[in-house]
């Protein structure tokens, strides 16, 4: 946008103190890391002291072993699941945005659509998984469908909230110079909604992970959800935990990817990281 960022611009930003903010970041991470390590140590100790069977609760060391031993299979499954999540997430965001735009732009359609969207939100989405398998088979399609129905809603809802929270006097200004509804929508409402939209997108990113795993549970021949199900029928609980660990890593990766996207799309959005 602005092609000549002045030095003045960057100097006046209050958050341009990398050293101290890095110190603050490690300071805030440290307790979490310590607690995590302590949990792992206690877990390992409890399993060994009480000689708990590995197919009930595997020790962290056994999980690590399983992770290394099955690395190839697990990576392959991770890649499949990550593809489903990414594709499903993008479709959810696109559909979520489209529904929100239609609701705001076309009064009549909006009044018809909005209650139905809310009603649909109350359908237990997980229960749709078997139906999607029945309709779309065992491939990618039912997973995308399931992610879509689970994840589009926060996108639509957050974008609607953002578009409808435009200050009335700003709308008065626009109306006074004869701005059309479409102009107000795209020049004001949509950019105004971006901080909200990005918040909804982050929720959608997490829900997409759930959608993919549930979809794989219901019927799949590949992916981390399939590995979890297959391993549990074999009583290979260590492998279940290893796959779960990778699912969590995927979830965190997608969440932070959405957060990075947020920083890029809405640099003016309020940041909550600094207290």
């Amino acid at each position: 946008m602005s092609d000549q960022p002045t030095t003045n611009f960057s100097e006046s930003r209050p958050e341009s103190r990398p050293s101290s903010s890095w110190g603050a970041a490690t300071g805030s991470w440290l307790p979490a890391v310590i607690l995590l390590l302590a949990t792992i140590v206690v877990w390992e100790a409890v399993v060994r002291i009480f000689a708990i069977s590995a197919f009930i609760i595997p020790a962290p060391s056994e999980i690590a072993q399983s992770l290394v031993a099955q690395w190839g299979t697990l990576m392959q499954a991770t890649l499949v699941t990550a593809g489903e999540i990414l594709f499903g997430f993008l479709v959810s965001v696109a559909v979520g945005i489209a529904i929100a735009l239609v609701i705001v732009r076309f009064d009549w359609l909006g009044r018809a659509l909005y209650p139905l969207v809310v009603l649909f939100q109350n359908v237990p989405k997980v229960a749709l998984a078997p139906i999607f398998i029945l309709w779309f088979g065992y491939g990618l399609a039912p997973k995308i469908g399931l992610i879509l129905v689970i994840a589009f809603f926060p996108v639509t809802l957050s974008m609607l909230a953002g578009m409808q929270s435009v200050d009335r006097s700003l709308l008065s200004l626009m109306n006074s110079v004869g701005a059309s509804r479409t102009q107000i929508l795209f020049r004001i409402r949509v950019p105004h909604s971006l901080p909200n939209l990005m918040a909804g997108t982050k929720i959608a990113a997490t829900l997409s992970v759930i959608g993919a795993i549930v979809g794989e549970f219901a019927g799949a021949s590949d992916g981390l959800g399939y590995v979890i199900q297959f391993a549990s029928t074999q009583l290979d609980t260590a492998l279940v935990f290893a796959a779960l660990l990778l699912v969590s890593v995927l979830g965190i990766a997608f969440y932070y990817a959405a957060e990075i996207l947020e920083r890029i799309v809405v640099p003016w959005a309020p940041k909550f990281s600094q207290s």
């Binding site: 200004l173 006074s176 701005a179």
Partner: protein
């Protein structure tokens, strides 16, 4: 015909009635079964600076919205240079400034200043819009902050951008609804003084809604006092202090006398009812 007379007159001597830029006749507004404004007659001479002052709930903001064409009067009529307020607004004759600057946080100051102009006139190129925005920022004293985003500007500076945005339309009249209401006292004084200078440089007609007695007297040529229940003009006061005025005018004995007089009028305007 009427428009021509107005154009020809040019100067700004007060009290020349045929030279009114804005005239409201018998304006009443009913909202939610409440009589918000009753039988308002208001004339604003071209090039004048008029303030509307009154207690909360007297409908002064509503009156401004009627003048801006944002609220339709239930009865009565408003003409701005012979046009209805909505027509006048479409012809970019009306510049609006509210208490909240309402800048777009994703645009820098210069793009905010030219934003409304860009909507009003789609034929203008980006470069022309920028140039106009820059020109207006310089007029309001923000020439070197063109690339700053709203969050990098102080409240007073944001309000200056809002004024620049209104002026970019080159309107005939600036309608301002408590534009400095959210600012601290010192900034407020400085903004008032800047507004006076802008007014004298551009010759715009200004209608200012305020609840500050000092501000009304410091800035305006005519002050109209509105009373409550229903909202109506109870008194009008001409401010004879010569222009150009600066803040030292507040120490003038005449200023002090006018403050006392206006305060008395305002106190009376707090009494509901009562024909005026």
């Amino acid at each position: 015909m009427r428009v021509e007379t107005i154009r020809a007159a040019g100067g700004r001597p007060a009290h020349i009635r045929h030279d009114d830029l804005i005239s409201a006749k018998g304006v009443s507004v009913v909202m939610a079964k409440q009589l918000v404004l009753q039988n308002i007659d208001l004339s604003v001479p071209k090039g004048s600076f008029v303030s509307l002052i009154g207690p909360s709930g007297c409908g002064k903001s509503t009156l401004l919205k009627v003048l801006a064409g944002l609220v339709d009067p239930t009865s009565g009529s408003v003409s701005i240079a012979g046009l209805s307020p909505v027509e006048a607004a479409r012809k970019r004759m009306i510049g609006l400034v509210f208490q909240d600057a309402n800048l777009l946080p994703w645009k820098n100051a210069v793009d905010n200043a030219s934003m409304l102009l860009g909507i009003a006139d789609k034929s203008l190129s980006r470069a022309k819009l920028r140039a106009r925005g820059q020109e207006m920022l310089e007029l309001v004293g923000l020439g070197d902050s063109a690339h700053k985003r709203p969050h990098e500007l102080s409240g007073g500076m944001r309000q200056r951008v809002a004024i620049a945005r209104a002026l970019a339309l080159d309107p005939k009249v600036l309608l301002m609804d408590e534009p400095f209401g959210a600012l601290d006292a010192i900034t407020r004084d400085a903004m008032g003084q800047s507004l006076l200078e802008i007014w004298q440089r551009t010759g715009k007609t200004i209608v200012l809604v305020t609840h500050s007695i000092d501000e009304a007297i410091h800035l305006s040529r005519h002050v109209h006092v509105l009373g409550i229940k229903p909202g109506r003009i109870t008194e009008s006061l001409d401010i004879g202090l010569p222009y150009p005025r600066d803040l030292s005018v507040t120490e003038d004995p005449e200023f002090v006398r006018l403050v006392v007089q206006l305060r008395t009028m305002l106190r009376a305007s707090h009494q509901p009812g009562g024909a005026s």
